[in-house]
Amino acid sequence: MKKLLSVVLAGAMAMSILAGCGSSGGIQVGGGSSSTETTAAAAATQAAGSGESAAPAASADGESSLKGQNVRVVIGSTSTSGDSYMMADVVTRYLSKYMGFNGKVDAIGNAAALEEMQTAKGDGKTVMMFHDMTYMSVLFGAVDEKYSLENMTIGPRFGRNPGACFGAAKESGWTSLKDVTEYLKANPDKTVSFNIEAGGTSHIAFAAYYLDVKAKEGDEVASRIKAIVGGTTAEKLQRLWDRNADVIYGDTSAFEQYTLDGVEAQLAMNMFDSGSTVEGVDIQSMADDGVEFNGKPFDFPKDFAMYFPKDTDANVLAEYEAAMKKVVNDPDFQADMKKLYYTVLSEDEVGLEASQQFILDKRDMCAEIIAQAPNLDEITA
């Protein structure tokens, strides 16, 4: 009986460890997984991830100083179904192939991921993969100054999601931000409320629109653009359906179904003015709609890059850069990204220096917008 109990208890311990190691979103890629479940999962991910063509092998075959090592990829989101996770997962799988490491994506959230960049060693075994919110959260004051880009190393960029846009109830008749502005001009007693996330990309897009209206139509019209802050995409949609928000901001893929014919009136919506041009989706971008910032068309896709601790070994960075150049040229990777409506970057764009310059320039533009943007406390509906 004692032996049986010991076996049962040992089994329970092993089971819990395996389950824990593979829990939500932690997908082990490459060889050396600690769990049969996650190994199978990773293999399946790879098999399906690249469609019919050859997927990155489960046993990593690349060459780098990280070959055979475990690499932890932290992302600034806690969601395992959003664009941050999806893109980091795809890129990690292909980097595993070309660098030979075992990568694991952990969706730990922005604050925790930034803290990792302060505490992790610069040996390339901990990477943060995230979009513009990495530096915007510092600019907006959501996190401490110590998490600024100056205290990290910007790594190669790896993709772009142009697909966020504005949406309004179909019955409003608005099919562009220009229509919203015209409505405000024609109805001096009306306001229009925009549901956005404070400190997110929606905040920047909203601020750019607000500043554009202010510059072109004057303070009075701009002052009737109001903000409702907070909420997931589901909550934003619910606000729109309750008619508690007039315009919301979210991913085109989340909105598309409500724009189709046959959707009941309360749910039906129009989507318009995406941050940037989205291939394969019939929607004009903010720039196409004439939204400008500092006299230039406003183009604002979500740009994703790798971030490393400040003292990261230059050789490791060079290895990541070289591998990323191979990854963007891999037809399977290109197919995987396109399937999810993400933009594949060129070999030049993912270069280390070009990436660093790009991110710093974009941060400067965001800082300028934020400096001029209205205080949300003053324009909250």
């Binding site: 389950a19 939500s24 979103g25 806690t78 395992t80 925790a112 959501a142």
Partner: protein, 491 residues
């Protein structure tokens, strides 16, 4: 079809294991297995994932009943009557009552899914932030009912739970609330539910028993021998309770954003309010167990309704399920059922099959499962601690901070026991606090700051009546219990 059935069996069994391990949830089970489904077509993938969902929700009752640790947040109310039954030597009976209730709950919610999806999704749309706030408030009134003659302590504990749930970053202005500077990176989303839940229930209990000293022989109370055996007579007079609880679970599932644990809390509170012997609930009666388990499995069909008909997930697990559809290039939403009739039918068949498999996989081997109670404490507890630590560590993809939270919650739970503050009330406040604030702010901001919005719609009036009735009942019940305790003390 054979493949689909095998995948459903695999899903249900794996889900039960996840649900039964404290700290592991149905959501985690679905997330872990999701990448595996990339290789399958949508239908087999759904059989696997729905199996995990049904199994994950059901598995939570095992540790809740046998060792007083809710395997998942939605089985918290299962501990109230399940564990006292197990202590009385009716562990097997309690497990069987729970499993049969889970099965009934699952089937009733499936019927609702099959027959009333358009109707229920239209009803969900009528529930704005105002009504959701009121529903959460209604669920919170259970705190009073659970206080067992110590209403003031219970209410204090519940509100303390609400306060603690608000620790973290306030999304409206990105400001931190009640967060020490050094903990900012870890507390942006506040304390995670699972470490707090397990800490309060499991770790504190282990501390308490450690204080009393370990007994080095097997306890006389056992899982199945000394008490009353299970029979379907346990369900005599429970028909209304089963249906009511399953429908509460289904409807709470239909409301997007309202958590699953709120469903079992509300169902338990209603079972107590309508019971002929409310004073017995919490002492180990089938009635409470039936309410809890029917409602949390009732959630499964309910949460699929907004997912499939509105494109909005009804709970955290269906939020992961949405990815399975996305990866297959299928949009769930208002046109899903009309454009994908075949898939819709397969979902219904899969749900039915998974509920039947869950019943078979849990009901018959329960004799062996219930033997867990035979394991000497000095062997069982180290394993439980380790499982809890792993569960807490996994709660947010591997953070040691959550392990410290677990131990901290354990110490807090232990101290609560010393000063007689009901930790269950704290936990209910903690679970519901965030939703309460979220919907309050949404409602008030939409009404431009007017509190009258909470009294402006007929659905709201109905919920207000229920809230008031529930509070009045709880106050009267509290007085009765106090009087009875006095009489007992005097007699």
């Amino acid at each position: 079809m054979i493949t689909n059935i095998l995948l459903a069996v695999l899903g249900v069994i794996a889900g039960i294991i996840f649900g039964a391990i404290p700290g592991m949830t149905a959501t985690m089970a679905v997330a872990v297995f999701l990448p595996m489904t990339y290789a399958y077509d949508l239908v087999p993938a759904l059989y696997l994932l729905l199996g995990l969902y049904v199994g994950g929700i059901s598995g939570g009752l095992v540790p809740a009943i046998l060792i007083n640790i809710p395997g998942t947040p939605s089985s918290i109310t299962t501990t109230f009557d399940g564990y006292p039954m197990a202590k009385r030597g009716e562990g097997e009976r309690a497990l069987k009552v729970g499993i049969v209730s889970s099965f009934f709950g699952g089937i009733i919610s499936l019927l609702a899914l099959a027959l009333f999806t358009p109707l229920l999704s239209a009803a969900a749309l009528k529930f704005s932030a105002v009504e959701k706030f009121l529903i959460i408030l209604f669920a919170l009134t259970v705190i009073a009912a659970l206080s067992n003659g110590q209403m003031l302590r219970g209410v204090f504990s519940g509100f303390l739970g609400v306060l603690v749930s608000l620790i973290g970053m306030f999304s409206v202005n990105n400001n931190y609330r009640m967060v020490p500077l050094s903990l900012k990176p870890y507390l942006s989303d506040g304390f995670q539910l699972l470490p707090v839940l397990i800490g309060l229930f499991a770790i504190s209990q282990i501390f308490e028993e450690a204080e009393e000293g370990m007994r080095f022989k097997i306890e006389k109370v056992d899982g199945n021998n000394s008490g009353t055996k299970f029979s379907m007579a346990d369900f005599k007079g429970q028909g209304v309770n089963v249906v009511r609880s399953a429908l509460i679970g289904t409807f709470m599932g239909v409301l997007p954003g309202v958590g699953g644990s709120a469903a079992s809390i509300l169902a338990y509170s209603q079972a107590k309010s309508w019971s002929k012997h409310p004073e017995l609930l919490g002492t180990g009666v089938a009635e409470g167990l039936v309410a809890s388990e029917s409602s949390n499995n009732g959630l499964t069909g309910g949460a699929m309704i907004p997912l499939l008909s509105l494109g909005i997930p009804g709970d955290s697990t269906t939020a992961v399920l949405i990815s399975a559809f996305m990866l297959q290039g299928i949009q769930v939403g208002p046109l899903f059922i009309t454009q994908n009739t075949e898939t819709w039918h397969q979902i219904l068949i899969a749900m039915l099959l998974c509920n039947i498999i869950m019943f078979l996989c849990m009901f018959y081997p329960i004799k062996w499962i219930s033997k867990i109670i035979y394991i000497p404490r000095q062997r069982l507890y180290p394993v439980i601690i380790m499982i809890c630590v792993v569960g807490a560590y996994a709660a947010k993809n591997g953070r040691m901070f959550d392990v410290w939270s677990l131990l901290f919650a354990g110490v807090v739970g232990y101290l609560f026991g010393k000063i007689r503050i009901p930790k269950t009330c704290f936990l209910i406040g903690f679970i519901l606090g965030k939703d309460l604030e979220n919907y309050f702010i949404q409602a008030v901001s939409a009404s431009k700051g007017s509190l009258l919005v909470f009294f402006s719609r007929p659905i709201g009036w109905v919920i207000w009546v229920l809230i008031i009735a529930s509070i009045v009942y709880a106050v009267m019940d509290d007085r009765k219990q106090k009087a009875r305790k006095k009489a007992e003390a005097a007699g």
